[in-house]
Amino acid sequence: MTEILRIENLQKRFGGLVATDNVSLDVHTGEIHALIGPNGAGKSTLINQLCGELRQDAGVIHLAGRDISHMPAPERVDLGLGRTFQVTSLLEDFTVAENVGLAVQARDGGNFRIFDRVTGRTSVWEETGHLLSGSLLNDRRDARVADLSHGEKKQLELVMALATQPRLLLLDEPMAGLGHLESQQMIDTLNGLRGEMSMLLVEHDMEAVFALADRISVLVYGQVIMTGTADEVRNDPRVREAYLGTEDA
Amino acid sequence: MILILEQLLNGLQYGVMLFLLAAGLTLIFGIMGVINLAHGSLYMIGAFAGTWVATTTGSFWLGIPGGLIAAALVGFLVEATVIRKLYARDHLDQVLATFALILIFNQLIILIFGRQPIFTPLPEVFYGSVEIIPGLFYPPYRLLIIAVGLLVAVGLYVLINRTRVGMLVRAGSTNRDMVRALGVDVRLLYTVVFGLGALLAGLAGYMTGPILAVQVGMGEDILLATFVVVVIGGVGSIKGAFVAGIGLGVVDTMLRAFLPTILRGFMAPSDADAIGASVSSMGIFLLMAIVLLIRPKGLFAAGG
């Protein structure tokens, strides 16, 4: 079995706080790998290091066999790394379609062209239309993103990440803020993408995690305390105590 | 040796003066997050009003409340009529509006006081110079400025970092609505704080009156330098503004005082003078560029 992502001994400190403490982890090609753990365990910090927004203090990151540890963020995207943000981060003045369109354009290239017409790039807009019609945002194409509700923005996050056609998708709490119905839909969407791309999924919605994940790693205080199947994780006493609790959900 | 010591003291003094000028700006720009180009106008208003009171009453000391009150009142007025409408807008709208205010205030001062620079008296007590250490004489008025500057620094530091007013102002500069939704009347608070910033500008204007020229447009001359101080120190940091003010004062003074001499050690005197002069005339900008290239957020960047 090949790995799309391999992390070795990753370290990150913020002052006295060790946010990522010697983390080693891998994601298999085609797998949905969930990363769970208490708030502040270091999940987002880990994702930020993977996509290059934060620089690790030590450790190595391999993407599809290439060492990307010191690569700037945009180059990692070119190699097939995509992500969503936990706190939505979108182009607020653009419409939904323009947001997705720009993401498609970014992947498609030709971004330095100053003599073409962006509205004339039919392939870009066709693909944008295609991406949107497969989402719940279809009838909000022309709404300004600033006018979207919170949940709608979260949905747009995913569409934009998909627009860059990643090989490995880093998802930072995609379900948070979604309604019940929309969460179900998102689970279906992600399930449908299984096989097309690999995913590292950070999520607190256990229903979604257990429904989707092939394997689950548990991060506590910056350390991976276990990796296993849904059942193994669900029944691990440490995980129950540190994270799952006995919520009646 | 005495010369170096004296120049150090000069630098310190100049630094404190820079801080005094920048203090109000730190509050309004650094902490409230309002780009107020008309800050220099408030400084000018303080200087003119204070001087007017001082010359009419014949008392330097009465000029202080005169200048402070005038600047603060104008500050309140500006906040209530102009700035308040612009918090929620783009920063650049503030630039345009306060640029307009500069034009208006300059012309109003001309209409009221005429175009001539005016004379701010120095009280007799401050005449002459005192001997601080043997061989080192110093103008006592400058010592007063140092004292006032230090006082303002400490007061501001406490206000901003140790009181709820400070927290609320900082909170309001990032999310006004949320502060209001938690029950605090931000509008009143901001008016008051803006007025305080204006008052500090007026204080600086009046205090430096006997040293500098009190004239129309005096505010624009110091505006750049004070922005530089705030930015080098790290926007939003009182400590930063203070350290940057003093640092800038000392570096600038030392450059002016010794750079040509040092350069003469290894190049032709005329070249040394030319280079020394150009370096020190770009002084504060050069320093700012270097600081920002090394620390893009300034020396003491406030978090976030």
Binding site: S89 | A100, F285
Partner: protein
Amino acid sequence: MRKLILPILLIAIFALMPLIADMVGKNALMTLSARILMYAMAAASLNLILGYGGMVSFGHAAYFGVGAYVVGILYSHWMSEVPIFGLFPGSNQLFVTLPIAMVMSGLAALVIGALSLRTGGVQFIMITLAFAQMIFFLFVSLTAYGGEDGIIIRRANEVPGLNMRDKTTVYYVILVVAVLYFAWMWRVVHSSFGQVLKGIRQNERRMEAMGIATYRYKLYAFVLAGMGAGLAGALMANFLRFTSPDMMHWTKSGEMIIMVILGGLGTFFGPILGAAAFLILEFYLASWTEHWQLGLGLILLVVVLFTKGGIIGAIARLKGGRE
């Protein structure tokens, strides 16, 4: 089609201006509209980075001034027949000086931009200001080129086949360059690059996450803008037949920002309208009263308080469209 109305109208007005000026016997109108064209170009170049790219450069006048000085310096060496650094001959040919002015101001923008773009926000404003002031002081102390007093250019640059001593001819040369420039600008803001630039203004972090190395794009825009300002400055030097450090003083940069905001930030026609409004106000108020700055201040204040998005914003709202 409707989109073409405004540009055609604008070109027609500017093209007819010499005739109109002549008809009503107000030749100064031609001077005024020439200045509007040149400032509009400078403001539009600033708008590219400020309005579309979100980079608040407070040193834009530096490139304007560098462009002007290129014309002035080339002219003075052409006059004295002393090559620059003993190597390059001077010139008084417009087709030589304009490209060189653009290249030099572009180079200045490249260096300053490369350093400044490492910062952001307020720090960016101040560091661009700092570099521009350094350039200002540099030219102030350039005794060889008149220092503070500047360079007097006795004659506008030559264009083969045209009589550049004739003011109307100079005016039309400026108009043609301006139209070409704005046509080009139109392409830029509607191009793929323009779209990326607008994206960067809104959310740089997101753009990086989409694989866009924003620094390079910002620098590219910064250089393009610097070249545009340099072009405008070079024209200005030809038009005024004079250049001085005053052209790159920080207050000039401030004026350009004011023009952009006044017209409408990040809109294509904003800088043109903003430059026009500012210069026309200045021109007429000043001839009306010596306290014209009071009037100008009040008008600007009213505009910013009661319209959103400058003149363009006000027009849009008058038309009842969505803002």
